[in-house]
């Protein structure tokens, strides 16, 4: 499937030996694979058709560069075309000067509007020092107002709500309330609705006309399929929205819907939601999603995440130490803590090229670290620094202390020894070089 796309294209071109130029014939075979890959990623059928045609037009007759194989060249074209369609760069929400900025959220039921209202409010409070106000304009879904209020309480952000049956009135009053309370950012959380529900769509149009929000954001579930084009086109036609938030990107969907939405509306994707926690929102990067769609991993996000959460001095200390002497259980513990700060192991592995999609079937026990920590905590200082001390009776004591079995402790010791062996090998190559490559540079070179 997808993660093998590059490999598959390589092998296709290998079978077509001696062809140094991309021809109609060899491109036909490879584009068939690309088409399947895009369809599997939920890119809309018609969008795929257009996309493939554009890549074909561009690729035919192109001379193969010395350093790239034809397969790589086609991947390069596809990647570039994906990035281009996805908007090229990042796009954010412009804040108004002098007057409060009003953002209106809209979208289908269950796409994540309420959660992302809260995430955005918190994001802008942190980034721009905004004083946000969230407005509960979903008067239909049972307990939707309670949900926003609960989130507001968690974040300590005020929520405006009132017992009215008219959404426009609520929003008008909310604006008044914001003025009195000097809120400079107002986010309207509207009810989820079907794009074909005329009555409900008209409600949004009325709110738009009355309030004139500076930014209308369409919230879309990244797992959405072919219908993404219908929904997005319809919402855009009615509301002419300004941008898109793609939610639930922490799942294992390819996010091909983003491409469809972008193609039919021409509107930028501004943010992605990456988890249930209220700080899990990121600015959208087209190149990263292009890589995800192509199954090439998201190394950039990973490095950024690592840089964000890595304690630089701790990392350096560890690096210096490993360079000179053996790794101890204390170091192991320190390392586990660093990794845990970066988030779940799985979400990190997902960003690695070539691993991402194999994870579907893989079960990663996030609790494994807890067990390891328990075992190490049950060792004495001496034992942690001198692993060779661990004999039968000490192991038994550790087993009792940590509530694990002796086998589990043996397993950990074995893993630990393997790690040490690896470290010794790394030392031979020169750890410094490696560490510089990993943490030193701002980001590794782009794949192309």
């Amino acid at each position: 499937m997808f993660e093998d796309l590059s490999g598959k294209l390589e092998s296709i071109f290998k079978t077509l030996k001696g062809q140094h130029r991309i021809s109609e014939e060899n491109i036909k075979v490879s584009l068939r694979e690309v088409r399947v890959a895009l369809l599997e990623a939920d890119v809309n059928y018609i969008v795929v058709k257009d996309f493939i045609n554009r890549v074909r037009d561009r690729a035919i007759g192109e001379k193969v560069f010395e350093k790239l194989t034809p397969g790589q060249l086609i991947i390069k074209f596809i990647h570039e075309e994906l990035v281009r369609v996805l908007g090229g760069g990042t796009a954010e929400v412009a804040m108004q000067k002098g007057a409060p900025t009003v953002i209106m959220m809209c979208g289908l039921q269950g796409s994540g509007k309420t959660t992302h209202t809260a995430k955005l409010a918190s994001y802008f409070r942190k980034k721009n020092k905004s004083r946000p106000l969230m407005v509960a304009a979903d008067i239909y879904r049972p307990a939707a107002i309670d949900q926003l209020k609960t989130l507001g309480k968690q974040l300590n952000i005020p929520v405006y709500s009132e017992d009215s049956k008219d959404v426009t009135t609520i929003c008008v009053n909310a604006l008044e309330f914001a003025k009195e309370n000097r809120n400079d950012l107002i986010i309207l959380d509207t009810a989820g609705r079907l794009h074909i529900d005329e009555e409900m769509m008209n409600e949004l149009i009325r709110v738009k006309e009355k309030i004139q929000p500076h930014e209308i954001l369409f919230v879309a579930d990244s797992m959405i399929g072919q219908d993404a084009v219908t929904t997005a086109a319809e919402f855009n036609e009615k509301l002419n929205f300004d941008g898109v938030i793609l939610t639930k990107m922490d799942g294992d969907s390819r996010g091909g819907a983003a491409l469809s939405i972008r193609e039919v509306t021409g509107k930028p994707i501004k943010f992605v939601g990456t988890g249930e926690k209220l700080d899990e929102i990121e600015v959208f990067h087209p190149d990263r999603l292009a890589q995800r769609i192509l199954g090439m991993g998201d190394i950039l996000s990973l490095v950024e995440k690592a840089q964000d959460s890595m304690d630089q001095s701790e990392a350096e200390r560890l690096a210096r130490k490993i360079e000179k002497e053996d790794f101890t259980y204390e170091d192991f513990l320190a390392q586990i803590r660093q990794i845990k700060k970066m988030g779940s192991i799985k979400s990190m592995l997902k960003m690695m090229p070539g691993i991402g999609n194999k994870l579907d079937a893989m079960d990663i026990d996030e609790k494994a670290f807890v067990k390891i920590e328990a075992i190490i905590h049950s060792m004495t200082r001496k034992e942690r620094n001198k692993p060779q001390l661990l004999n039968g009776s000490r192991k038994l004591r550790i087993a009792k202390g940590s509530g694990r079995s002796v086998q589990e402790i043996n397993q950990l010791i074995k893993q630990f020894e393997q790690m040490n062996m690896m470290m010794r090998q790394i030392r031979k190559i020169g750890f410094n070089k490696l560490a510089r490559g990993m943490f030193g540079a701002k980001a590794p070179a782009r794949p192309y």
């Binding site: 059928y45 307990a143 989130l151 797992m223 219908d227 855009n236 639930k248 997902k350 994870l359």
Partner: protein, 332 residues
């Protein structure tokens, strides 16, 4: 973008004049001010401009040829049926039809092929125990809580006593949302504090159901993405706790799938089946323009029948799954 407008499943349900179960009587009257005919002609007008209605006329008019197959392919893909299943349907149609064959025969063939793929999906929902425990699982935002409200209504209309357990203790105000549904339907309701152990809520719900003589115990769970191991383990724990009370419980595990979901639904079905032994699917949000075709792919790969479809936000908007209507809605 009229190009992408499509007809709603509800329209097909009406067109097909299918047997409505006792619950569905109210469902038919969506907008009482419009007659059924007006509604239909309105939606037909809407569909006239649609590429897919044109497509429908390509597929089902004239003689069988390559264009027909391509149009068929497009209809299948845009219904989220997916590459593998679409290819196998097209392959089957190619094999069993010949060039120039009358289109009506081909049409029948296509229906037969797809319906045979869905044959596991018919058959009634059976109540096998007292209390009959139904655990409802799925990813975030696909309509689990609403579906539970509708299921409560469905069973209460059958004269059953229903108890709802609020084991989504995570999402803000999920308990309040479900409580509102319990009020609307008149079902019994069991809850605990937000962020308490969902397995404990499941336990309490079963115990209360038993004590109060409930026929059906519906247990809501928090939405979770299927690739989060810890959250999936939590589901396993709920099942384990229920099994201690009754080895057969939960008697049914319903996976709610959002009909707008694309190929990722396959991954959802696989992961949820692995951790909680899904016994049936509820296809929600079929009142939009999405077709939910990925369920055909799921049926191809796994032995999970589709039990119900959700077609609106009201308590009556739940219907038994009918493969024929479902297939018709893909093409016409």
């Amino acid at each position: 973008m009229a190009l992408f407008k499509r007809k709603r499943v509800r329209d097909y349900l009406e067109e097909a004049d299918i047997e409505l179960s006792d619950v569905k009587v109210e469902t038919v009257e969506v907008k009482p001010e419009l007659s059924v005919f007006e509604k239909l002609s309105g939606s037909l007008k809407k569909t006239k401009s649609s590429i897919l209605s044109k497509l429908g006329s390509i597929v089902f008019s004239g003689k069988m040829d390559e264009d027909t197959l391509e149009a068929l392919e497009e209809a299948l893909y845009t219904s989220d049926i997916g590459v593998k299943t679409t290819e196998s349907i097209i392959g089957e149609v190619r094999k069993r039809s010949s060039k120039g064959e009358d289109i009506n025969d081909v049409k029948k063939l296509v229906y037969d092929v797809i319906i045979s793929m869905l044959d596991k999906s018919s058959g009634p929902v059976q109540v096998t125990a007292k209390p009959h425990v139904i655990l409802v699982v799925g990813v975030n935002g696909n309509g689990k809580t609403t579906t539970i409200g509708k299921l409560a209504h469905y069973y209460m209309n059958m004269g059953k006593r229903v108890l709802i357990g609020a084991a989504d203790t995570f999402r803000a105000a999920a308990i309040e949302q479900l409580e509102e549904w319990a009020k609307r339907t008149g079902a019994d309701f069991i809850k605990n504090q937000p962020n308490s152990d969902p397995a404990a809520v499941a336990y309490d719900s079963y115990k209360a159901g038993e004590a109060r003589g409930a026929d059906i115990v519906l247990i809501d769970t928090a939405g979770r993405l299927h690739n989060k191991v810890n959250l999936m383990n939590e589901l396993e724990k709920i099942s384990r706790v229920l099994k201690k009370l009754n080895p057969d419980a939960p008697h049914e595990v319903l996976l709610v799938l959002d009909a707008t979901t694309g190929q990722n639904a396959l991954s959802q079905a696989k992961q949820f089946s692995r951790t909680s032994g899904v016994t049936g699917i509820v296809l929600s949000k079929l009142d939009g323009t999405a077709k939910g075709g990925v369920t055909i792919a799921i049926n191809q790969e796994m032995d999970i029948p589709v039990r119900f479809i959700g077609i609106g936000e009201k308590k009556e908007d739940l219907q038994l799954f009918d493969p024929e209507v479902f297939v018709r809605s893909i093409f016409e």
